[in-house]
Symmetry: C2
Subunit: 136 residues, 2 copies
């Protein structure tokens, strides 16, 4: 995997680590500084700007506590200085699908947009690469 | 509005025009050529690659016909050669929220990612800028 892709997926995972631990400072540090961020929680309308977005996470953390969310099957596609991550989110046994958009800022990658929504029918899990050892 | 932003919003509208008219050729021409495209319809898992994405639109068009979808409140944010559009979608009286990501390709902007999902509670429509004429 290309180094940029690896870095982007690490920052994507850091986003979910911050959410699952309810670490608002770590979460805040992951978003871009140079532009308004946007965030669409499942079922919510769009939130625009860091103040609204961070307030929503504070409300989520103080409401039911930090969500026990797990990021799965994350893939990153790079378009120059921007990266689009598509990943699944497993939350209380339900499966959601998310878009996370990152842009290069300073030495690393920062989140500028997040959308997650419910999935009615999950696709068949891709067949893992064949393992000759399994055939014998 | 900056010219790039205007162009991006025009291509975003062209996407909805192609969907509402069921014009599969116009729709196909809007997506990037240089990379796999990704698409997340409301309630669907992620579709990856032009073949899957275009097949999904063909299935939607041939199923219930072209959806009578209206794009509302589109805003674009530019990050270099990438643009993120967040917009509402009104479909059969329901309100959805969407992310459309465009990248510059050739002379224009092409779609590389789409996600739309349901909104449970629509936010209050922002108050329009005050018009002194209205106060008298």
């Amino acid at each position: 995997m290309a180094p940029d892709e690896t870095q982007v997926l690490a920052v994507n995972q850091a986003f979910y680590d911050a959410v699952v631990t309810g670490n608002i400072e770590a979460l805040d540090a992951l978003w871009v500084e140079r532009a308004d961020v946007t965030c669409i929680h499942p079922g919510w309308d769009a939130l625009i700007g860091r103040d609204e977005v961070m307030a929503s996470f504070r409300a989520i953390f103080s409401g039911g506590g930090a969500p026990r969310i797990q990021c799965v099957d994350a893939t990153a596609r790079l378009f120059g200085e921007t990266a689009i991550v598509v990943c699944g989110e497993v939350l209380d046994g339900t499966y959601l699908i998310a878009t996370n958009v990152f842009v290069r800022e300073g030495a690393g990658w920062r989140l500028c947009h997040h959308q997650a929504g419910p999935v009615s029918v999950r696709r068949r899990t891709p067949t893992p690469p064949s393992d000759p050892g399994m055939l014998n």
